[in-house]
Each structure stands twice: as C-alpha cells, then as structure tokens.
Symmetry: C2
Subunit: 342 residues, 2 copies
C-alpha cells in the first residue's frame, strides 16, 4: 500500500512557493497487531502551519526537511487489527498531508457522522472552533453590550468568534478583505458591521463601526488592522492573540519607528490585557466547547462556510493562497471521497 505525501522540501524565506514542497509516494508498512490502515478524506489547512515550516523556536516542533507536513485530518478505517476500531469507522487524527496512514490509534478519536458533518471536525467543531471559543470566552471575556472586533472575520476562527460574541450579547464587528467577504460577514453570519482592511480609511471605518470603542479585539492578522484596533481600545480592553497571518511571512523588520514604547504606555494607561494563547494548551475546555458550540450549530445559531479544494496535489498552492487570504471560510483539501456526503 502506497501513501501519497506532501513533504517539506526546503524552508521558505518569506512567502512559501511550490518549491518548498515535494510530492512523493511512500510505501506503507503492513498493518501490524493493534494497528489500522486509514484513508484520509478531509485535510485541514490552517495558517499556523506556516510557523512550523521555519526552524525558529516556536510553540510546536518544526516540520523537518523531508518530513510530511502536519495537519488535522478526518479519515476512514480501511483495515483494522485494532480492538477499538472496525473497518468503515470514521476517525479524527493528526495524520498530515497524505492520502493513507498506518496508525496505532494513539491520538485518534472515533467520530459519529450522525452528530455533525465529517468535515466540521477539523473546522467549526474542531480546532478552529475551540480556538475561537477559548480565546473569546476565556481571554476576551465579552460582557453584554460590549464591542468585539475580530480580524479575518470570514475565516474558520473569526466567523465563530463573531457569532459567539453576538450570542453573548455583544456587538460584533468584523474586519475582512474583499467586498464579497465583508458582505457575507454581515448578511450571512449576522455580525453588526464589517469593514475592509483594504480600505484607505480603515481606522476611520473601524471607528465608525465601533461608536463605543472596542472592548475585545480578537487578533488573527497583525499589521495595519492591529494598529487600527489598538488605537480604538477602551480602558480595560482585552486582546486575545491567536495568530498574526500578515506577519508569518515576514522576518524582523527594521527602519520603521519603534511602536513598542507607545504600546506599553497604552497598556498601562488603559489597563489593557494582551494575551497569547494556543488551542493545544486548552484541552480542558474541549468538553464544554463541544456541548455549547455543538448545540448552537444544531440550532442553526452558528453558521460556517467551507472552501474545498479537491486533490492532495493541490494542497501546496491552496496553502499559499490561504496565507494570502484567498480562501473564503474554512479551507479544506478533499483527499478522497466522503461517503456521508450526497
């Protein structure tokens, strides 16, 4: 049995290109005792993967040169010598950018396809949803009537942040790029407002959308959106730092004025809290998340959108596009057929 794989060919400098990836086949070992063969169906692409392509110190181990790119995946068991899994079972695992894998079940969870569509286990019901949940509720702590701003608002994390903020009684304001996403965030997801980071008057637009200032800024992107949001934070504002997509591809920057002293002064004067978090530290919140967000999803109070690219071989270029904001909603690679979809 062969597995098609996407491996890290060389480390990117700045924005990754096709040359940083290598598509290859590997011969899988035979399925030993206590093991199973899994066919990958859904592969999740997420901005954090860019950080793992560097060898800089980070919160997670770097991908090594020649190693398969890591990712959360949903698959189906094709053959099993594992007592806990039978042929045909659906599973969630960190199997990476590949088509098949032999697993001993370590870190794997069985999925009930009746509970939620298979692909959502790497989206709104998975890591991105939990990221939104713990960042907004545990760090952002929005109160009724407050204003929550979230960048990358149409994305897998941002869309849940804003909808949860609304459910908690806050005003939800998104920041997105193209008009189509800006409209979607308001018309489909029900945010109170959304502005475009492409606007030359971003700060004024955001100010107009937040007449009472910003109490929670959920940080996904960095760059000019961060600057605009910072300038509008209310006293006692909270900034959960989830990611900084716009910074992932840039190295240290020189030559600009140093904004750190002004930031520190703002933090003091307005008693701001800026806190980084990573979803993998927050496993203790998984059960509460599943119950609460699962409920909203079934009730139709939380909506989501998927951006599906078919074929593992398209993962590199889709990932490069994701870092540029070319996806619309949760980015997935469909590696093989999903038998639960009509």
């Amino acid at each position: 049995m062969k597995s098609q794989q996407v491996r890290l060919a060389k480390r990117p400098k700045g924005e990754p290109t096709a040359e940083n990836f290598e598509i290859a086949e590997a011969e899988l070992p035979a399925v030993g005792p206590g093991q199973m063969l899994v066919r990958i169906i859904w592969l999740s692409l997420d901005p954090y993967m860019r950080g793992r392509m560097d060898d800089a110190r980070s919160y997670a181990k770097s991908v090594e040169i020649g190693e398969v790119m890591g990712a959360g995946t949903v698959g189906q068991v094709m053959e099993s010598n594992h007592p806990g899994y039978a042929e045909g079972d659906f599973v969630l695992g960190m199997f990476g950018w590949q088509s098949h894998v032999v697993s001993d079940g370590n870190g794997v969870r069985k999925l009930d396809p009746a509970l939620a569509p298979l692909s959502t286990w790497v989206g709104v019901m998975g890591m991105p949803g939990l990221t939104a949940y713990v960042g907004l509720l545990d760090i952002g702590e929005p109160k009724e009537g407050e204003t929550v701003v979230v960048s990358a608002a149409s994305g897998a994390v941002g869309s849940v942040v804003g909808q949860l903020a609304k459910i908690k009684g806050a005003r939800a304001v998104g920041v997105a790029g193209p008009d189509e996403k800006v409209r979607y965030v308001v018309d489909e997801l029900g945010f109170d407002a959304c502005v475009s980071h492409r606007s030359a008057t971003l700060r004024d637009d955001l100010k107009a959308a937040c007449p009472n200032g910003i109490d929670v800024y959920f940080e996904n992107v960095g760059g000019p959106t961060l600057d605009a949001a910072l300038s509008l934070m209310n006293p006692f504002g909270r900034i959960p730092v989830c990611g900084m997509i716009s910074m992932y591809n840039t190295g240290p920057v020189g030559g600009d004025a140093d904004r750190l002293p002004a930031l520190m002064r703002r933090i003091l004067t307005d008693r701001l809290k800026i806190q980084g978090f990573i979803v993998s530290d927050r496993g203790n919140r998984h059960k509460a998340f599943m119950k609460e967000v699962g409920g909203y999803l079934r009730e139709g109070r939380i909506k989501y959108r998927e951006s599906v690219t078919v074929g593992l071989e398209n993962a590199p270029k889709t990932f490069i596009g994701l870092l540029r904001g070319e996806n619309f909603g949760k980015q997935l690679i469909q590696v093989s057929e999903d038998p639960t979809r009509g």
Copy 2:
C-alpha cells in the same frame, strides 16, 4: 490661616525642571460646619505624578496649570467642626503638595498610629504596597518555585513585590541601579539575586540570575530592562505593567527598528500575558491587602526603607531626583513634625 503650596507652573517637555513648579501661599477659608483644618505631616512622591503633569489623555485627570500638585498625604487635625474627627486625630487624604488644608472629610480616613508608623500609610501600607500586592498576586500569580523579576527593586513598590514573591515561595530577582541598592535588595530585603541596569551586560547578568527563565516580570521602568526581561520570559509568563519610569519623560521615539511585531510574535508563541493595571481600580482588594501585608509587616517578614526630605519647598527637586532614581526606598517629604516619632 495660610497654606504653603507647590503648584504646576507650566507643563514639562521631557524631564521636569524647577521652572515647571511654583511655590506660593494661599489663604485658606474659615473652617465651616462639617469641616476640619488639617496640617500635612507626610507627603508621598511617586513616579505616576509625572504623567499627571502632561495634558495627554491618561488614566487620571491632569493637574491644571496653577493647580496644586496632587499627592497622598498623612496629616493631623488641628481644628474640627466635623463630627467624625477631633483635634489631634491623624488622617490619610489626597491633600496634595501643600502644608495645610480645609477638608470636609470626603475621601479621608482616620489612622490609628498604634497600628503602623504614620508614614507607612503612604508607603508599604498604602498605595505603593497595594500596587505591589494586586500587581503581583492578581496579575502575576506567582507559583511556588517560579521566578519573579521586578525592576526598581529597592523602591516603594518593587521592594514589596520581591518580598511578597519570596513569601509565596518564588525566586525573587531584582533590577536596580547603583551597587548600594543592588546590595541592599539582596542583603536587607532577602531577594535571591539583584542585577544592575547600569551593567553593559544587563541581559547576560539577568540570565545568570534567572537560570530557569522568568515567569513573572513586574514592569516598573520600561527601557532596556524591559527588553532584557522580555527576551528571557518563559512560556505562559505574565507581565503586570505598573509603570514605566524611564519612559515618562520621553515623547514618541522614532528611527529605531520597530519592536512591536517581534513582541506580538513572542506574546503568541510563548502565550505571554501583558496587562496594565492601576491601583485605584483595585479598591476591592484593600481589605485583604491590609490584613495580609499588615501581618507580614508586624512579623518583620516585610521590610521597608524611607528616603525623607524635610521641607515642602524641597518637593520639586526631590521629585525630579525620584524620576532619575536618586531616591533610595519610599520617597517622602516631611512637611511638618510627626509627633509619633521619637
């Protein structure tokens, strides 16, 4: 009855000079019904007062031109028509840089001189002590065996931060300026180590003093000490931001490399929490503070040092010296005789 006063003459640009202050006399009104005349004994000088000399938006109202400089004070009632106070009572109030005041008792508290020396009510038992308490315990949350670093370690706030950290089972490391203060912090206050921010090898010194990295950095000064501490923060580190003495006298800085993107990246990667706080928001902690820190003080587990300048007319130059770090311990102006001191 006349009150000698120090008023704001003009707003400073950068470091204040004598010209920013004006010493004058004001005729006090007669003591009306429900009022009392108070003679100021102890006047507290604190770095935050520099911020109030600016007209920039800040957490507290600016001092107006021609207005008496604000300050916490301890005084004695000389004459009273107030039912709650009798002649001879000692009181704590925000009476400012002056010798006498007529008060209606609003915001005033009676002090028991048997509980603690009068001067400590504007020091270790007052605002600076409470600042250390809430910043360290509520935001820093040090755990046993962790490392706490505090800048301005021999000062009114820093000295309490380090001693409280020790009591809570943490390793306490100070940053101070001159050798004399560095020695005092270790030999007298019992910190585990102290380094000098004047050292050309500050970062290496701090690294050597913190072999397990830094879990809590209590920020009092900004500048190179902040940079050094940031570079040594452990994952999940906490930075309570209490003040930035080194930044108070500087306006916006240009030309240096922008350190904000790197800071945001560190916050994310290491899940740091940076949170500003101001003691006046934390009145709900006053009772717990009084009980706990009062107990440590009586048991001799928390020590303090005072830097006393006699004479209200010396307040401006003493304050200018405080901003330069020339004080050693809690800076006080003795405005008139303290009858409880031998």
